[in-house]
Symmetry: C2
Subunit: 188 residues, 2 copies
């Protein structure tokens, strides 16, 4: 049963492990996250990692995908609330201004792209999320008269990830400077 006390505690530990994994991937880098470090951060014994997850890689992948899906949904919902092209773009970039490129979320995004380039299974899962997000953005672009919605959505998402990748090197790279440039790409 889901309501069984021990089962629920188990689910909580699973979630704490995933949260710790997301933090540590960003802090140390994907391949520098160890089982003991992970268990320590989650406040559990080292053996629990391999009780709840078949392998360390599986835990990292699951945690990373969860974080990516959450932010993708959030940004997608943000677009649905926007009325015009420029308003949507501004909102999108303003949301990204909350991340400085050194935070858990930004670094985790870059890390999971890299890991996906080396792990086919993770790559397929991440491609699914990315594809869904791009289609969602493409529909929004098409509804507001942007040219070549599919390609524009693809380049827009890549550009946003690229900005987050560059931001730690240039703190000035904020939405105020980025928006006017991308705005031109969205208009015929």
């Amino acid at each position: 049963m889901n309501a069984s006390p021990s089962a629920r505690r188990g689910r909580e530990v699973r979630e704490r492990l995933q949260a710790a994994a997301a933090e540590l991937i960003a802090e140390r880098g994907w391949s520098a996250v160890s089982t003991r470090l992970l268990a320590d951060r989650a406040g559990v014994g080292p053996g629990l990692v391999h009780y709840h997850f078949p392998s360390l890689q599986a835990l990292l992948s699951e945690a990373a995908l969860g974080t990516v899906r959450a932010l993708a949904d959030e940004l997608g919902a943000l677009l649905d609330r926007a009325d015009g092209l420029d308003e949507g773009l501004t909102g999108l970039l303003a949301a990204l201004d909350h991340y400085d490129g050194r935070d858990t979320t930004s670094l985790l995004f870059s890390e999971v792209y890299l890991a996906a380039a080396r792990d086919p299974e993770l790559g397929a899962a991440l491609a699914d999320v990315l594809g869904a997000t791009r289609r969602r953005i493409a529909r929004w672009l098409a509804a507001h008269g942007a040219p070549a919605p599919e390609d524009t959505a693809a380049v827009l998402t890549a550009a946003l990830d690229g900005v987050m990748l560059h931001r730690p090197l240039d703190a000035q790279l904020t939405s105020a400077r980025v928006a006017p440039v991308l705005r031109r790409a969205l208009h015929p």
Copy 2:
């Protein structure tokens, strides 16, 4: 002297170690490159790594910076040879089509950005290279009448790195689809 046989052999080994480092950073990821793996790939004894370099991190940083500088120079020179805005952009993207996002160069780029977000010294060095490249592109953009050259150059470089980050997940993300979108961002 530089021409001393042993000194020259030493320089060759240094270069072989750097080449091996660039390969392995891309293959395994920055934090999964070990001294023994490195020495093996370079065909030398494990002790040589710490004879030629003060630390493993120093070797990785030096190797990565070398690769980044080389490609940045190459793309900069390519721009200088281009006549118009569109021709330059097309050439830039065509050059990137030679990389599929899973190759040594593309992956190393993403890895070094991530490493630079965690290592201030590497971050400063990489910011120098990135800054120089952006100024070079900005001058070229300004000479050809593009609006807001500085900001456009910043977004353009970020977008190109973002495309390389996404390419392993979507092999269709080639210059043919990217160029028309970015082209709009370069014109008033």
